[in-house]
């Protein structure tokens, strides 16, 4: 960290990176293609660079390019053909539980393209929280980040994955991730992007393969002028009594948000809901494309989407209590973005709140 400029440290702090490791039980730090730190003090949890993990455990092959197909698209093919793969593997051994998050920091500083392949494995009855902060140096004008992430949630395990992005206006970002959730497993995915970027394009998928599995995706995004956020999330309810929620809060201050969502209910006694709310603060685009697809009688799927501006009567209601127009507007935006995510540790919630506070000052 000593090698980083104060500006870059500030940027990384905003993605949730705790340099002093307070409130963190493990840390992985990759600058461009170089892993500069891997440390983990939690019992039953391993954090390893992907090459080390593949050498150490034969069975890693079962998880390597399993949830995400190598040939899914040109970005996965690009990562798959790398002779020197980089990225993080987290293994939570059976029953290992940590309340504190593990942090993974991916920093794009000099190279034109950063590629990453992460694999998170939570074995039976384990529980992990991973906060992934992805950022580019404040001096970095152009570049791309391609990140493949495969997540495996075992029987009765719980994985919370929170990704906070803090890029620059010339950066293109292509995360490609997929999750497999087994019986009684819980997968919570949170995504925050409130700073300028050229393009983020992603459509993570969760396959719920075991009974009672749950997946919940929450996204809080702000598209500034020139940003294209083409985002989606998909859940396949492939076992009985599985359920999912896909929740998005999108704001445009001039950029474009495409909020896709797809739930496929293909087993009895399954439930799914998509909720997308968009606020257009300045002329820009919010395009919600919720899709729900049921193929059996016992699946219940629903969606609601709303896009608009802040209602004038809401602002006036708060003004009648003494807030100025700007204060009333900020208060309403703050509330709009306040998606309390159940089951999230307080430190992660604080991180999300801090990202919102930081962005709010720019409205």
């Amino acid at each position: 960290m000593e090698h980083l400029s104060p500006e870059d440290r500030e940027r990384l702090a905003l993605t949730g990176l705790e340099v002093g490791m307070q409130n963190r039980c493990g840390s992985f730090f990759q600058i461009d293609q170089k892993v500069v730190q891997t440390t983990c003090g939690a019992e039953g949890i391993e954090m390893l660079p992907i090459k080390t993990a593949l050498e150490k455990y034969n069975w890693m092959e079962d998880y390597y390019w399993n949830a995400v197909p190598r040939d899914k698209d040109k970005y996965t093919k690009y990562v798959a053909k790398q002779k020197d793969p980089q990225g993080l593997v987290v293994i939570a051994h059976p029953g290992a539980k940590v309340a504190m998050p593990l942090q993974a920091c991916l920093f794009l500083r000099e190279e034109p393209v950063q590629h990453v392949h992460n694999i998170f494995i939570a074995r039976e009855e384990s529980e992990i929280h991973i906060i992934s902060g992805c950022a580019s140096s404040w001096l970095k004008e152009r570049g791309a980040h391609i990140g493949v992430t495969e997540i495996y949630v075992g029987k009765g395990a719980k994985v919370t994955s929170t990704m906070i992005h803090n890029w620059n206006p010339g950066i293109n970002v292509f995360p490609r991730s997929a999750t497999i959730v087994e019986e009684d497993g819980i997968f919570l995915s949170n995504y925050i992007c409130m700073q300028p970027v050229n393009q983020v394009n992603m459509y993570p998928t969760a396959r719920l393969l075991g009974k009672n599995a749950v997946a919940r995706f929450s996204s809080i995004v702000v598209a500034t002028p020139g940003s294209l956020l083409d985002l989606g999330s998909r859940t396949i309810l492939a076992a009985e009594h599985t359920s999912t929620e896909l929740i998005t809060r999108a704001i445009t201050t001039g950029g474009t948000v495409i909020s896709r969502g797809h739930i496929l209910g293909e087993r009895e006694n399954t439930r799914g809901h998509i909720e997308c709310r968009g606020l257009i603060l300045k002329d820009g685009t919010i395009h919600a494309i919720p899709e729900i697809e049921g193929t059996v009688t016992g699946t219940e799927l629903s969606h609601e989407a709303a896009v608009g501006k802040i209602a004038r009567h809401e602002i006036e209601y708060l003004m009648a209590r003494g807030l100025s127009e700007d204060e009333a507007t900020a208060t309403i935006i703050r509330g709009f973005l306040d998606v309390k995510i159940s089951g999230l540790p307080a430190v992660l919630q604080e991180q999300i709140d801090a990202a919102i506070d930081k962005a709010e000052s720019g409205f």
């Binding site: 004038r312 006036e316 209590r321 003494g322 807030l323 127009e325 208060t331 703050r334 509330g335 306040d338």
Partner: protein, 243 residues
């Protein structure tokens, strides 16, 4: 306290209030009655300063200051408060957070005030989202208790409220208007829109006004006006030429 002179108000370029004159002194409570659509709520909203209610002539003076063209929050900060009949539900905005944002009170003080109107369990709820009729009114009363306005406007405080809630809300409104303070020392004033007059079971009003077709047609003893309206309807007021 409040002095409205020759006020004309238009909504969507149509004049809906014509030549309103109303004077409410310090410590006085006035009641405004009239049929649906006569312009009662419009008058309250014009006094509060809401957009869409354009004052085309006349003036509103509050505590000696001309507020005719002041923005809403400046009127609120001067001491005007309003209980909304249909307040908006704002998802994500917690009632407790709003109360902290609009006051200098400590969270403990706010909690105690919330307890006094059985709203402590609502402080962590999104404001007015899924609230019942009684809960909306209690939330409005709580916001006013925090705001402590000198002049309170109440738009149909009885509507949608069951008897048990009415008892609580009636007593709390009486306190907001300092009805427990001797008339000599009473500082708070109020203007209450009522259809049923139930609110008068909890507090005395000094004056009543009847609004018909955007004009205040008569002034008088509020109970007497209420009795006449109950017996003969507003037809009597329509025929009445006293303006």
């Amino acid at each position: 306290m409040l002095d409205i002179s020759d006020l004309h108000v238009s909504v969507d370029s149509t004049e809906v209030l014509h030549d309103i004159n109303l004077r409410i002194g310090q410590g006085e409570t006035h009641v405004l009655m009239g049929p649906n659509g006569s312009g009662k709520s419009t008058l309250l909203k014009a006094i509060m300063g809401f957009g869409g209610y354009k004052i085309t002539a006349g003036s509103i003076v509050f505590k000696g200051k001309d507020i005719t063209h002041l923005p809403i929050h400046e009127r609120a900060n001067l001491g005007i408060g309003m209980m909304f009949q249909h307040p908006p539900a704002i998802s994500g905005l917690k009632l407790g957070k709003l109360l902290v944002a609009t006051s200098r009170m400590s969270e403990d003080t706010i909690k105690a005030l919330a307890q006094s109107v059985n709203m402590e369990q609502f402080l962590d709820r999104d404001i007015n989202v899924g609230f019942s009729g009684g809960e909306i009114k209690r939330s409005e009363v709580l916001q006013l208790k925090v705001q402590q306005p000198d002049f309170v406007m109440l738009d149909e405080p009885e509507s949608g409220v069951d008897l048990e809630n009415m008892n609580l809300i009636g007593k709390e409104i009486a306190k907001l208007l300092e009805k427990d303070v001797h008339i000599i020392n009473r500082r708070k004033s109020g203007l209450i829109i009522t259809h049923t007059g139930y609110i008068l079971d909890y507090l005395e009003a000094d004056q009543g006004h009847v609004m018909i077709d955007g004009q205040i047609r008569c002034h008088g003893n509020p109970r007497e006006i209420l009795r006449v309206v109950k017996e003969k309807g507003y037809g009597e007021c329509l025929r009445c030429k006293q303006i």
